[in-house]
Symmetry: C2
Subunit: 454 residues, 2 copies
């Protein structure tokens, strides 16, 4: 391991410039759902990458903003990919922002701006780490491929296509993913994979329009049909009752379970926060943590039909009903396959008037928890951070890891990044602590160096 | 039967004055849900009743606007009650009214005003019929009790208490109910009873607030609990699965079934109107009509939880869920009893976090279909109206008949009144056809006379 204090000193000496660079990046609006700022942002990034000695290729597929691939040559045969995204979430509700979202502002030791944490904070920290590495150590001991997409916040609709189309250009040995974060207790978090997601909208329509409920004797009810259809998706024990739902699940290995055992989980504090007395199925201990990572869910994200004013009595037979379901999937379930099985379930049980539309699907992703990158990021984290590291073999949220990890066969590790629970990701007043940002620049420099030594 | 043409001529001769009286009544706002106009309206009615020779008593119970009881003495031992209500529905959405709701306006042979049909049209027609009777025939051949409440449109919350408190004053042999109406084909309708209604709001709350759905593994779901609770209320065949739900049902008698057989029901036109291929359970023929009147329902009037924007994918674990259920009840089910059985069902099946609130309850009502009043109203209707009469032993909607028919033991008959399918009851541009209004004045005069002859 290199001299960490030397890295700290260098980052400290350049901190003003590094923070200015983050602010400059965050001053460019690049909201992917609104389709603006793509060119300004990708041009700016291309310039930054080129200053680091990268040759930059714009990866273009029809209907998608350009992704950037900046290749910095280095010594040795190994290639490391860094994945980030240059787009950000929308800013609404705009009136809750204390300072304008695209006018980065320092307050209380933080930079407030849309993207300050997710994901420009990590992205720019990594650019600064590459500069720091060059200043301190010179040429990289591996080839670096900086891969930056522009559609992550709108669902990475073209990401799989981009990865497939440019598979040769993207070939790498390991992939650094968008950063992990610090938990409530200040512990840095690291991930090797993620759950998948199938988001399904079910609708039923039975009548030409809402009717007086007195004719419910003979007029069919969309509300009842959809309610029964959704109810049929789970058995009395809460297990998903779709045929074959659990078929493709691969049990976690010993190394993954060993990591699960070490994850801290404060059950009492969590119950208190949620105002509950017990967890589902009285889950506790190792089983709770294992299920959180390795058990798929079928969640009702919404169900809407008929009259909804609390306390008021309106009798109506609704003509239509809509349910929204999200299934969190685990390796090796596939979103497409589960969507098909859901459709078959509806047909098999005779819910002919229930229409299924899949609104989004991302496959779960699993990477080896024993890779050169993972070992480097873990070992440096233990030295670098004040608090102990938590390593999740799988994160229980979802990201577009699958096209990289499974599609291209590049194992992923997501080392700690700049986010905190109060960074307001996807919310007004997004922010990053300046101390965290500088810390991550230094930490990244150190694990890049350590990766070169593996 | 008296000379009907004599009655028609008298009504025709006084038509201008009769229509003015309806307009005067409809110019007084008396919206019960807004609690206004009660005194102005009841004072106006008291004056009208006193001019007809009635002694008027104001029936007052705490928390309720006065009901009026106007007693007009007559020959003979028999007493006939007429029930109506002087309150009207709210006027919203006000901007859809072509002329202001409380400025009665004639257009296309109709009076447009809130209450023109429901129920001031019937009420004023009956006042005019009493005047016509006096002019043509003199003293009534029975005592008449005109009973007018002020809370029907807000659920008759105090009606049972009023009937109970003033049982002695209200004692009568028969009761004329708020009028029936003309159907799409112009056929006059008549009713002897009605279904009951239990309106229940079920709510579930599980968490301190909405959560990211990734924690659905361990955080309980209000949406799932409430959905399963509602689903448990019916079995696979659509029968209500609440213990004892069907226990108190009294099968209709031969005379009632005979009336059911004669009810016209155009199945093909109804299916076409609803855009359906088949009725629930493939109901058809006699069974369809019988079930419409004599089978209770459990209808989902609303179900609301989580995210509801069509086509958009938001993953959320909702903290709360709400369902609205309306049960249409049949004799001798009771709203209170079914409410208790529903509560027991939820407890028995372990839905401990589902809270039940009964928002309203009205008991079904059944009266003999062979009474002096019914015979008078039916026989005159057959002579008076151009189209054949349809007699429903029970109407499949709900009204507060139970406190009169069962509470006081006074058999009810609801002879044809001024409403039509296009009268826009409870909607903007409520109206009554002037020809119908005058027709009902004459018809009422004739059946009062015929009742006196029974």
């Amino acid at each position: 391991m290199s001299d960490l204090s030397k890295i700290r000193e260098h980052v400290e000496a350049n901190s003003g410039r590094f923070v200015d660079l983050l602010k400059e990046a965050c001053s460019i609006p690049s909201v992917s759902t609104e389709g603006n700022g793509f060119d300004t942002m990708s041009d700016w990034l291309q310039t930054r990458l080129e200053r680091l000695g990268a040759s930059v290729q714009r990866l273009n597929v029809p209907g998608s903003p350009d992704a950037l691939l900046g290749v910095i040559p280095g010594r040795g045969p190994r290639t490391l990919m860094i994945y980030d995204h240059y787009d950000v979430q929308p800013v609404d509700p705009i009136d809750l922002w204390i300072s304008p979202p695209f006018e980065p502002t320092e307050r209380d030791g933080r930079v407030y701006a849309r993207g300050a944490a997710d994901n420009k904070g990590d992205l720019i920290a990594r650019l600064c780490a590459l500069e720091t590495y060059a200043d301190l150590f010179g040429e990289l001991p591996f080839t670096l491929k900086f891969f930056i997409e522009g559609e992550e916040e709108s669902g990475s609709a073209n990401f799989e296509n981009i990865c497939h189309t440019f598979a040769e250009e993207l070939r790498s040995d390991d992939c650094v993913w968008e950063g992990g974060w610090f938990d409530h207790d200040g512990r840095p978090q690291m991930f090797y994979g993620c759950k998948g997601l199938l988001y399904a909208e079910l609708t039923a329509k039975k009548l030409s329009g809402d009717q007086h409920s007195s004719i419910a004797v003979y007029a069919p009810s969309a509300a009842w049909e959809l309610l029964r259809a959704v109810a049929s998706l789970k058995d009395a024990n809460g297990r998903v009752a779709i045929d074959g739902f659990y078929d493709d699940i691969v049990e976690p290995g010993a190394a993954e379970l060993d990591l699960v055992r070490k994850i801290p989980f404060n059950e009492e504090a969590t119950k208190k926060h949620l105002s509950i007395d017990r967890f589902v199925n009285d889950l506790t201990g190792e089983q709770l943590k294992r299920d959180l990572l390795y058990t798929p869910t079928c969640n009702i994200a919404g169900f809407t039909t008929g009259y909804g004013v609390p306390g008021a009595a309106k009798t109506v037979l609704p003509a239509e009903a809509m349910a929204k379901l999200d299934f969190r999937l685990v390796p090796d379930q596939s979103a497409e396959d589960i969507g098909k099985k859901l459709q078959l379930h509806l047909e098999k049980h005779g819910f002919d008037d229930v229409k299924l539309e899949v609104l989004s699907g991302e496959n779960p992703s699993r990477s080896s928890v024993d890779t050169p990158l993972g070992r480097a990021a873990e070992s440096v984290a233990k030295e670098w951070f004040q608090h102990p590291l938590t390593v999740y073999p799988l994160m229980y949220a979802t990201g577009p890891m699958h096209p990289i990890a499974q599609g291209l066969g590049i194992p992923i590790c997501s080392p700690p990044g700049v986010g905190r629970p109060d960074s307001n990701l996807h919310a007004p007043n997004e922010n990053a602590r300046i101390a965290d940002y500088l810390d991550i620049i230094g930490y990244t420099t150190a694990y890049l160096d350590e990766y070169g030594r593996q």
